[in-house]
């Protein structure tokens, strides 16, 4: 048993030395950091592409100099595809579970590690291998299908669909393995006294997400394999020329990808629950309701995929049903919203940077969610489908929701992860730029969409010019914000003052161990005697 650890360093970072010790580690905290570095790198790549896309859209192509950054529509389509695929499969989906979840789930439960540490490491390698495959295509045979790989275009276009799709498949493996690990850890490795109803809400969120990952990802896996087979062997399942059905592809794809949007957002909701209760110094309002509404969202999310296909030629009855069921997602989501607001009410709120991100989340996610309901309304969607309105909607939920929560959670747990404090003013500055920049970028897109500007086009009529200019300028503000954030993080890690064990006076278990935690998480196994948020 724990024999060697006594002779090693006093925390997980200096426990062993050298790159090799990191690449072979089975410590969930180190794996979390490895995910962090990889995801940040992919975010950077995807971000540069986003800036290029926005730059291209700064002016219509008829305008000399600007407006022709990307040579032509083909290049635009390729950059758009990589931007989408990278951001979805390599940043937002793995983001919170793989970084913060890996790092904190065992700490939250009072466990020494996740149930299967080696599989945890394997999932990181799967992630990297899948990402490598996907990025490889960029260097010899670019793909231009959009991140949804719709047939029959994806089987006709002479690009690297097969490789890309295999990359996504392997990353899916990684996602399944992480989910599996989390479920078993929650079931089997809780410390004495840690009942399911004493688990922090972040853990509940990760648990619901893990169930989604397990149930939805296999369907994407087979869809991608069939797509690859279609491309290589022309099997005919999705190809109308061979009697197949391209709409079936959409059904399969969205059967995963709608739940996937909740794989992206439920962990974010978990993070926000932690932040709100900590920084308003109040017991969270409606713990059970928040916990179970995660499961509720997860359940409903399997029955609404058809709202992406209102104009695909599916039957009218199906459209009406999907429209109705989609509205139901609003119920558990609203439960969460109201509980957060009720927690804030009469709380003694402190506006530390993590809290700013949490409040930013509430604001942006509310807009994203409400526009989601608008899109779920069948007749409205017929009008808005494939316009910038949809683009704005999903950026509000994915970026405004998930990314905000990821940043907030990251600042919140930063002292625990690195044992240092970051510069609070820099972090706040970063928030201000990201928040304002975000709204400047994406709010005009709602209007553009309502005016009829289609998505995925690399040029537009002059009527759309002003709003596009505003939107592009917004993207520069976001960039500035992230640069401030990066600086705050790097400076914090290098020169930050030493963090105490529990700088925010939080009540959950991870704050009961030293910062950064030792290799085995807790010097003595904690025994839990109360709920996670005993503030008053």
């Amino acid at each position: 048993m724990a024999t060697k650890s006594a002779h090693h360093g006093d925390n997980y970072i200096n426990f062993e030395k050298g790159l090799w010790s990191w690449l072979t580690t089975v410590d969930h905290k180190r794996i979390g950091l490895m995910y962090m570095i990889s995801v940040m790198f992919f975010f950077f790549v995807g971000g540069v592409m986003a800036l290029l896309l926005r730059l291209e859209l700064f002016a219509p192509n008829a305008t000399a100099n600007v407006g022709q950054v990307l040579k032509n529509g083909d290049v635009y389509n390729q950059v758009l595809t990589y931007h989408g695929a990278i951001m979805v499969f390599m940043v937002i989906v793995p983001g919170i579970p793989a970084i913060l979840g890996n790092f904190f789930l065992p700490l939250h439960l009072g466990a020494k590690d996740v149930a299967f540490p080696k599989i945890n490491l394997l999932s990181w390698y799967c992630f990297m291998a899948g990402a490598a495959l996907a990025i490889l295509t960029f260097f010899f045979n670019k793909i231009d299908t959009g991140w949804t790989f719709y047939t029959p275009y994806s089987i006709r276009t002479g690009t690297a669909t097969v490789l890309m799709v295999l990359g996504a498949f392997v990353m899916g493996m990684s996602s399944v393995l992480t989910g599996l690990n989390f479920i078993v850890t929650v079931h089997k490795l809780r410390a004495p006294g840690m009942t399911m109803h004493r688990m922090p809400l972040f853990v509940w969120a990760l648990y619901s997400t893990a169930i989604l990952q397990m149930l939805a990802t296999p369907v994407l896996a087979i869809t991608l394999l069939l797509l690859a087979a279609e491309k290589l062997f022309g099997v005919g399942i999705f190809d109308p020329a061979l009697g197949g059905d391209p709409v079936l592809f959409q059904h399969f794809f969205w059967f995963y990808s709608h739940p996937a949007v909740y794989i992206m957002i439920i962990p974010a909701m978990g993070v926000v629950s932690e932040l709100i209760t900590t920084f308003s110094r109040k017991v969270i309002f409606g713990y059970t309701a928040i916990a179970y509404s995660s499961l509720g969202i997860a359940a409903v999310s399997f029955f609404v995929w058809g709202h992406h296909m209102f104009v695909s030629g599916q039957s009218e009855t199906a459209g009406i049903l999907f429209s109705f069921i989609t509205m139901l997602v609003g119920v558990p989501t609203a439960i969460k919203m109201f509980n957060w607001v009720a927690t804030l009410y009469k709380g003694s709120i402190s506006f530390d940077s993590p809290m700013l991100f949490a409040l930013g989340f509430l604001f942006l996610f509310a807009i994203g969610g409400v526009t989601g309901i608008m899109l779920a309304t069948l007749p409205i969607d017929v009008h808005f489908h494939d316009t910038y309105f949809v683009v704005a909607h999903f950026h509000y939920v994915m970026v405004g929701g998930t990314l905000m929560a990821l940043m907030g959670g990251f600042y919140y747990w930063f002292p625990k992860m690195f044992g240092k404090m970051f510069n609070e003013n820099l972090a706040r500055l970063s928030f201000v730029f990201i928040f304002i920049g975000f709204n400047v970028t994406f709010f005009p897109q709602f209007i553009l969409g309502a005016m009829g500007m289609p998505r995925r086009y690399f040029d537009y009529i002059p009527a759309y010019e002003t709003l596009n200019k505003v939107s592009t300028v917004g993207s520069w503000l976001i960039l500035t914000g992230f640069l401030f954030g990066l600086y705050a993080i790097v400076q914090g890690i290098r020169k930050g003052p030493k963090a105490s064990m529990n700088p925010w006076n939080s009540k959950t278990l991870e704050w009961q161990t030293s910062s950064p935690p030792p290799h085995d998480n807790f010097a003595v196994e904690p025994i839990v005697t109360a709920g996670p948020y005993e503030y008053r």
């Binding site: 048993m1 724990a2 466990a111 020494k112 590690d113 149930a115 299967f116 540490p117 599989i119 399944v176 599996l180 690990n181 479920i183 078993v184 079931h187 089997k188 490795l189 397990m214 149930l215 990802t217 296999p218 369907v219 896996a221 087979i222 869809t223 394999l225 069939l226 087979a229 279609e230 062997f233 022309g234 099997v235 005919g236 399942i237 190809d239 020329a241 061979l242 009697g243 197949g244 059905d245 079936l248 399969f252 059967f255 085995d520």
Partner: protein, 222 residues
């Protein structure tokens, strides 16, 4: 499974990984993990079965035409081979639990052999089909085959995808069992520790079970 870690009958005691408290906890976790993974396997095959069901419904005659070209005797022999291999897999676990490593090794080797027989028969089936021009989808040689239905290739699209994916799982399973075999001969498994054997066993049974669905759907229905 016993939770004490003393030596039983001269065999090594249970090894408990450092993040578990008891061997029982480790065993339960491992088992739950494997079953969850199996759920994903079943869902993956489930989706392709849904696709099959949909198109079978749209083109019943075409699927019947395709099914006629398959030799149900080969499929049937393969079904028997796999069921037998599931049996040998299962007894290997009980031998390990009773510290009869030698018998366990023989049972495992037999399981691998069955897998190999299965794949050989598949190989003959495939090569025979290729010989007749029965390729999937767009590669189907409609003239040579004399197909009645223009899209007959889709049937073979399903046939090759479903049996191909299943065959891949058989190969993976054989690899895993070979790994078990080596470890069994090395003496890693005994009455206090057999999780990997049971885990791979569950995988093998599921692969088996999936074939039991594929066989009637492809060879018999229609």
């Amino acid at each position: 499974m016993s939770t004490d870690s003393t030596t039983h009958g001269g065999v090594r005691s249970a090894h408990v990984s450092h993040h578990f408290k008891t061997a029982e906890q480790e065993y339960d976790s491992g088992k739950q993990g494997i079953w969850l993974f199996m759920v994903t396997e079943i869902l993956m095959f489930g989706a392709i079965l849904v696709g099959y069901a949909i198109f079978h419904n749209i083109y019943p005659e075409m699927f019947a035409e395709g099914a006629k070209t398959l030799d149900w005797r080969m499929g049937f022999v393969n079904t028997l081979v796999l069921i037998f291999s599931s049996f040998t897999m299962a007894i290997s676990i009980s031998y390990v639990q009773r510290n009869e490593q030698k018998k366990a090794a023989i049972a495992l080797a037999t399981t691998i052999l069955c897998g190999a027989i299965f794949m050989c028969i598949k190989y003959f089936e495939y090569s025979h089909k290729f010989h007749l021009g029965l390729y999937p989808g767009r590669f189907l040689d409609v003239a040579k085959v004399g197909a009645e239905h223009a899209n007959l290739g889709m049937y073979f699209g399903f046939y090759y995808c479903m049996t191909g994916l299943h065959g891949l799982h058989v190969l993976i399973g054989m690899g895993l069992i070979a790994w078990l075999l080596i470890r069994t001969i090395r003496g890693d498994f005994h009455s206090q520790y057999w999780i990997p054997v049971e885990g791979v066993g569950i995988f093998w049974h599921i692969v088996d079970l999936i074939w039991i669905f594929l066989f009637p759907l492809l060879y018999l229905v229609g």
